[in-house]
């Protein structure tokens, strides 16, 4: 009986979703704002990656909210797990030589790739969030492969706070100097398609990259510490 009712409910929900999906015209450009970003985005922001110009410039305030959500999640996790911290050091079985050497060899390369992604966020696909996640995955490799190695917690917290602070200060300066909105682009835009272009966008993305990377690495660090 219960399974029949749940099946009926599932069918009703599926029908509703199918109806609403049928209404959306996929593949056609209907919105004016999307066309505006594609046509004017490059000259207005100086970033050749249009996604970046939307994320950091036009919708910069939303990005602040996104960064805050991640920050609150990391703080909540560390608040839950830090209360059960065990202080005594247990003997950890070392990894095999091949795994250990491989991790140590790959770690700087993955870090370099992540830094490349978030420094070139205004030129190539990717940006602060993607680059930060790649940096964090380098730390995951070290935590799982070369066990016993840790990043100092004070260092990661400092980097995280500095990243958030740079983002907010640059945005507020934009509010005061450049225009009437958060994160207005007040630095010179430079030449399109060069590294030093697009005004504040690279600064913001480097700050976000450091912040997201240290935050996600801190989350993994807390979980690994709890599991040992």
């Amino acid at each position: 009986m219960r399974s029949i009712i749940s099946l009926l409910l599932l069918l009703v929900v599926a029908w509703g979703i199918a109806l609403s999906l049928d209404e959306i015209p996929f593949g056609t450009s209907k919105t004016k704002v999307g066309n505006y970003y594609i046509e004017k985005g490059r000259e207005e922001t100086g970033a050749s990656n249009i996604v970046t110009s939307v994320v950091v410039n036009y919708r910069g305030f939303d990005t602040l909210g996104e960064v805050t959500v991640l920050f609150v999640a990391a703080i909540g996790l560390s608040a839950v797990l830090a209360t059960r911290r065990k202080k005594e050091k247990r003997e950890i079985e070392p990894a095999s030589l091949v795994l250990y050497t491989g991790c140590r060899f790959l770690f700087p390369l993955i870090l370099l790739f992540g830094a490349y992604i978030f420094i070139h966020g205004h030129l190539t696909p990717g940006g602060g969030f993607q680059g930060g996640a790649i940096v964090a995955s380098a730390f995951v490799l070290v935590y799982l492969g070369c066990r016993g190695r840790r990043v100092s917690e004070t260092g990661s917290k400092t980097v995280e706070s500095l990243g958030g602070l740079v983002f907010i200060v640059v945005g507020l300066v934009g509010l005061a100097v450049g225009g009437h909105y958060f994160l207005s682009n007040y630095l010179p835009k430079g030449e399109l398609n060069t590294l030093f272009s697009a005004g504040v966008i690279p600064i913001i993305y480097i700050a976000i990259g450091f912040k997201v990377g240290s935050e996600l690495a801190g989350v993994i660090d807390h979980l690994v510490e709890e599991s040992e």
Binding site: P125, V140, I220, S227
Partner: protein, 79 residues
């Protein structure tokens, strides 16, 4: 092109179903990692490389790592 995409979607469906029915949780985690990876490739084909990068680094790398840490803390086999 359409053939490659259909093959990828089929593989993704198989991996998703495998993640549901495996009793060995480590294999299930690897299967769900495969779902994320194929989703990243499909995002790239849909001309969304930014989303593909986020999906590959978060969905395939970090979430898998979190699940593996959780499995190490709990049990590996489902009853």
């Amino acid at each position: 092109m359409i053939f490659v995409v259909s093959l990828l979607i089929l593989l993704m469906l198989i991996a998703a179903i495998a993640a549901l029915i495996y009793k060995d949780l480590m294999s299930a985690v690897i299967a769900s990692c495969m779902v994320s990876l194929i989703a990243a490739i499909l995002f790239y084909f849909l001309q969304a490389p930014d989303v593909a990068m986020a999906e590959a680094s978060i969905g395939a790398a970090l979430v898998t790592a979190v699940f593996i840490i959780a499995i190490r803390r709990t049990k590996r086999y489902e009853e």
